[in-house]
Subunit: 216 residues, 2 copies
């Protein structure tokens, strides 16, 4: 592995602090015990200028020597392929971790993102909100609940799938969406009490607090 | 590779035909020239009963000998790792294909799914629809347009990233969302005129037509 550099925003306003997606990468790097440093791009209108590193103007991206990777899912997979504590090397556990990594994004977050955007904009009386609330709770969390009640981690041992799923569910929990799903809540607690998460979370908060200082 | 079995619904109503996600897997299998057979689960209330194969009660899933994989993204990656025409073996092209596979799902489809659900339910006057329309067009397609104007395929050569991105954009195009993005439209045309897509598409339509016969 080359030198690892994580790029995130120089600063964000208060509400997203603790939830900016660089936390997924910080968390994985802490779990793997990999050294890295942080570089920044300027935050403006919720995004940076699109570049070859990130065509949509978002963060994070990771450079690993000559390689540059965007999309939090692709970054976790990249790190997992190079670090056994993040991704089991053998089938079927490896495949299970990868399918749950995709499921966290494309089954659960695909439902929780529009749901949380409606809540964030105060639009909880609309037909659209009710559709997304049903999509998230009836079609996703109701099925995830027995899975998480029956196992500690999605692929048997802790993996990048749990970093992704717990981070997705953590935002749902922030908006009260896990009230009827105790196994999902217990899973979020299991994941976020790990020392690597706590370190990553504290580091993100400290990073943006330093951004406040720099802006003064 | 073991025997490949793709599982999809036995039948679906007219509107989603040609767009059921098993087409992503059929298309990849045709591109790779891999033999496979199709099994079915009963369609009811837009999903099947959740099983160990698919915890959310969706399709498709793929079994490869003793392995069972769900999530269309994970299935494409599984096939790509076993078939060089679907995923370049060497960096940086391999990593580019994987990050764009995630981007198709978690950047573009994350925006196009709520947008298309609003249109599908006739909810195009709401604040939620306007938010998702802006999310899709201003924050995603506007940035994807110059990328697709500058290259034939996302990772240099055709890969699973193009199967996923073209399938996601194809549904946006069906609802008129690519009108202002000519490079995105040209890309969809490039991808869907490939013989492997045409075969996959015809096979899906024939499969569900056979389901009509069986229901009579």
């Amino acid at each position: 592995m080359g030198e690892l550099i994580l790029t995130t925003f120089d600063w964000v306003p208060e509400p997203p602090r603790g939830f900016v997606r660089d936390i997924r990468v910080r968390w994985a790097l802490e779990e793997a015990g990999l050294p890295y440093r942080v570089e920044t791009v300027e935050f403006g209108d919720h995004k940076a200028a699109p570049t070859a590193h990130q065509p949509f103007g978002q963060v994070p991206w990771l450079t690993d020597g000559d390689l540059s990777v965007f999309e939090s899912g692709a970054i976790l997979l990249h790190l997992g392929e190079r670090s056994p504590p993040l991704l089991p090397a053998d089938e079927p556990a490896r495949g299970e971790a990868i399918e749950w990594l995709f499921a966290a994004l494309n089954s659960v977050e695909a439902a929780s993102l529009p749901w949380s955007l409606c809540i964030f904009t105060g639009d909880t009386e609309s037909a659209a909100y009710r559709m997304f609330d049903d999509f998230l709770k009836v079609h996703r969390l109701k099925h995830l609940e027995p899975v998480l009640a029956a196992r500690e981690w999605l692929a048997g041992t802790f993996s990048v799938a749990d970093i992704m799923m717990a981070d997705v569910l953590r935002l749902v929990d922030r908006f009260g969406g896990l009230a009827d799903f105790p196994a999902c809540r217990a899973y979020v607690t299991r994941a976020t009490t790990r020392p690597a998460f706590r370190k990553a979370h504290a580091d993100q908060l400290a990073h943006f607090a330093a951004g406040d200082e720099a802006r003064r």
